[in-house]
Each structure stands twice: as structure tokens, then as C-alpha cells.
């Protein structure tokens, strides 16, 4: 049986991992390749890294760091940030990433999803999206871009449908309201999304305790969940190891990849 995936997520600035709360107050965690290696050794299922300043600084993704991580990590590895064109995607894949995450760029130019899916296959294109509770929206959620700073007027569920039709192979849905709060995933949001999304769905934003992972895996159809603070944030009273989380989930009846 297919297992539920734990995906470690890093925000990268200049080759280093940083940690923010609701997109602000970043603090330094450590070199990306070193943290990636540590989590690979701990048997994390997958990694995502976002070059969070690439778009603002109008440059491409940090290829040197992609290459460095790809050399020491033998689980799937997604990268995002600063991807604007097919050539950017090709360069990141060639550097050793398996999948490309598109976010703000895809809202501005949805065709990039279709082009990427055609050129490299849907499985290479992850549509990541930041959404915020907005009662005036038909679904109750609105899509935000540019580090969750800019409201787009797009309804979240409409955007997910469109992204899927254009060929996104996976959808990573981040709740701005829950991000960094450590209070749990937005389960209501995931339940809405599972009605419209047929490709694998990744829950993101809010994980602070092992129970939050149990809840998202048992109460929604999320196939994967993003964790970051729990693993490595110096702000947390206590961090959790991948083994601890998997042991807990197995006890709770959640099927995860057992470690050797």
C-alpha cells in the first residue's frame, strides 16, 4: 500500500535555511545541504526547498545549492522560487531536482504549468499555492502570491481546478492563517480541496505536534504533509525526530514508510 509521506520543507536564503512565522521574522537555522543530509539520514520521505528571495531579487533559483543537496539526498527533492521559464525548470531538473514547484509565477502566467507538464511530464510540476480564509470568496479561501503579501482575487478552489486541468501533477496547499502557528493544519481547507483535486494533495502550514499529522492523515485525504518547525526550528521548545513522528503515526494506525 502507498504510504503517507512526511515532507521536510526548507526556506533558503543564500544557501542557508531560515525559519519564519507567517512569512516574517526570519531566523537562521543552518546550511541547507547539511540539514538536507541530516534529514535524509533520519529517513525523511521527501524534501522541498524554496529559494524565498529569488523572485524579489529578480534572479534564478540558487542552482549551486540545488546541486549540493542533490548529491547527498536520495529521496525525491522539489525546488521552487525564481522559476519563470521552461529553461529555468530544465536547469533545476538537470541540477538534480525531481520536481519543480510553481507558485506566484503560475498565477501570473498559468501557461507555465501546461508547458512544464508537456515538456517534463505532470509529475515534475507541483502547484504550490498560498491561501487565506476570505469569507467573501465562493469557497471561503483566496489565493495570495508574492510571499503571501498580495491578494489576487482568485478563489482558491477555482485556482486548484485550473492548475490541475493545466497539468499540475501534485498540489501543495498552504494555509496562510495556520502557517507558523504550530496549531495544526487547516483541516477544513484540506477537506474542501480533496473534493476538487484528483492528483496527490500535500497539506502545508501549521504542524506543531505529532497529533497534527495524525489528524490531517486520518481526517482528510492528504497524501503528504509538510513539516518544518517541528523538525528544526530553534523557536520550538522541543523538536521531533523523523523516527519519533513515524513511530507515533504507526501507533495511530497511519501507514507510513517504516525505517530500517
Amino acid at each position: 500500500m502507498l504510504t503517507k509521506r512526511l515532507i521536510a520543507c526548507f526556506d533558503i536564503v543564500g544557501g542557508n535555511v531560515t525559519k519564519a512565522v507567517q512569512f516574517q521574522d526570519n531566523i537562521h537555522v543552518g546550511p541547507a545541504a547539511q540539514l538536507a543530509q541530516t534529514l535524509y539520514d533520519a529517513q525523511i520521505d521527501e524534501l522541498i526547498f524554496y529559494d524565498i528571495t529569488a523572485s524579489n531579487e529578480r534572479r534564478g533559483i540558487d542552482i549551486a545549492t540545488v546541486k549540493e543537496v542533490a548529491k547527498c539526498v536520495f529521496v525525491p527533492f522539489t525546488v521552487g522560487g525564481g522559476i519563470k521559464t521552461l529553461d529555468d525548470m530544465y536547469e533545476a531538473l538537470k541540477a538534480g531536482a525531481e520536481k519543480i514547484s510553481v507558485d506566484s509565477m503560475a498565477v501570473r502566467n498559468p501557461q507555465i504549468i501546461e508547458q512544464g507538464a508537456k515538456a517534463f511530464g505532470s509529475q515534475c510540476v507541483v502547484l504550490s499555492t498560498q491561501v487565506k480564509r476570505t469569507p467573501t470568496m465562493p469557497s471561503g479561501y483566496e489565493v495570495y502570491i508574492d510571499g503571501a503579501r498580495l491578494a489576487t482575487g482568485l478563489d482558491a478552489m477555482e485556482w486548484l481546478k485550473q492548475g490541475q486541468e493545466l497539468g499540475a501533477g501534485e498540489i501543495c496547499l498552504n494555509s496562510i492563517d495556520c502557517d507558523g502557528t504550530l496549531a495544526g493544519y487547516d483541516l477544513e481547507l484540506m477537506k474542501l480541496a480533496e473534493q476538487v483535486v484528483r492528483v496527490p494533495l500535500i497539506a502545508s502550514g501549521g504542524a506543531g505536534k505529532p497529533e497534527h499529522l495524525r489528524d490531517v492523515f486520518t481526517q482528510t485525504q492528504a497524501q503528504a504533509a509538510i513539516i518544518s518547525s517541528m523538525l528544526y526550528s530553534p523557536r520550538m521548545a522541543r523538536n521531533y525526530s523523523v523516527h519519533e513522528l513515524k513511530d507515533y503515526l504507526l501507533q495511530q494506525g497511519v501507514n507510513v514508510r517504516r525505517y530500517a
Partner: protein, 196 residues
């Protein structure tokens, strides 16, 4: 020398990283001549069956590959789409394939399961211990000869996750991205621990 076929949209660099990590040396193959002196051949796979077949034709490499694998018995491993194209035909864009193994490749039923299958699934082998491997696939192989199936996993139903016949091996999962289990399998293949 280990040879990794490098075609556009394939993920040959990831396979190269894994082989290097195992302490082995390998070369990329970009034309038929590059196959000369191959001790092992790996065909990585990402993308569609048709695109992969088209790439192999554009590289003009199929005859040399068949000479090396089917007549000179060079150990061969096809990964993901690189395994699927070993069969006669793929439903994906109605693509005739290499036909080294009898059988066809069909699509998972999206009414029953999420397509693509994406994630870690448990593979049971005929002759090695079961373990978790990373899959990304919308299509799966249905070998005509049961004896060609080397490993199975459960998704929509039980499906063929790995094949082997003599010196020809195939993995539907990404061995190069399946953690230590994947590296161990690659290592066994490359170090001759899997008797052909």
C-alpha cells in the same frame, strides 16, 4: 564501465549521483558509439513512453542497445518509463515499444485511485526481502509471462513493480530516489549480486 543513457527530459543526473555515491564510476551515453565497452546499462525514465521512444530513435541507439543487451547479454536496468518501454506496447499515447518482454503497459483507473500514484509503496520480491520504494507512475506493466515479474506492490490492485528476465531488469519505482533500499538494489545490480 557503467553506462547511463542520457536523453532529454530523463533524470540521468540523479542516477549518476546515486551510482557515484555507491563508489562506482559511470559515463553518460548520448549516442550509439557511447555504448561501447558497457559493463552495465541503465535507462533512466521520466516523462512519457512516446517521448522516451522518440528520444531513443533520435539518438539512433536502439540497434546498438539491442546488440548489447539481447545478444551480448550486458546487464540492463530500465527505470520507470525505462522499464515500461521494454514491453510490446504502452497505452500512453498508443505507443509501440521495444518488445523485449511480452506484454503491455496500461493506465491506472482514475475512478478508483489517485493518478499518478506518487509516493512510497512496499514491494514484495520473488527473491529478496520486501522494502519501500518511491513510485511516480500513471501507467503500469502487465507482463504476459508471469515469470518475468520480479516484484509486486498494491495500488489499484496488485501490480508488477519490478521485472527481470535473464540480464534484463526493470523497476517501475525510482531506485535512485528510494533512499537506502534503492541504493542497495542499484548496488546489487551494478556489483553483480543479482545473477543474470
Amino acid at each position: 564501465m557503467i553506462k547511463i543513457i542520457d536523453y532529454k527530459a530523463g533524470n540521468a543526473p540523479s542516477v549518476m549521483h546515486a551510482v557515484t555515491h555507491l563508489g562506482l564510476a559511470a559515463q553518460f551515453v548520448r549516442c550509439a558509439q557511447d555504448l561501447a565497452g558497457a559493463s552495465h546499462i541503465i535507462l533512466p525514465g521520466v516523462g512519457s513512453a512516446r517521448a522516451t521512444m522518440d528520444s531513443l530513435r533520435e539518438m539512433n541507439i536502439i540497434a546498438a542497445l539491442e546488440q548489447a543487451v539481447l545478444r551480448d547479454n550486458t546487464p540492463f536496468l530500465g527505470i520507470c518509463v525505462g522499464m515500461q518501454i521494454l514491453f510490446d506496447h504502452s497505452e500512453e499515447e498508443d505507443t509501440p515499444c521495444l518488445g523485449w518482454l511480452p506484454g503491455r503497459v496500461v493506465k491506472f483507473n482514475a475512478a478508483q485511485v489517485r493518478v499518478p500514484q506518487m509516493g512510497w509503496n512496499n514491494v514484495r520480491f520473488t527473491d529478496r526481502s520486501s522494502d519501500y520504494f518511491y513510485f511516480v507512475n500513471s501507467f503500469y506493466a502487465k507482463p504476459q509471462c508471469q515469470t518475468d515479474t520480479w516484484g509486486t506492490a498494491q495500488y489499484q490492485d496488485e501490480f508488477t513493480a519490478a521485472v527481470r528476465r535473464d540480464n534484463v531488469f526493470g523497476a517501475q519505482f525510482h531506485a535512485e530516489k528510494s533512499g537506502e533500499a534503492g541504493l542497495a538494489l542499484l548496488g546489487d545490480f551494478l556489483k553483480g549480486e543479482l545473477p543474470c
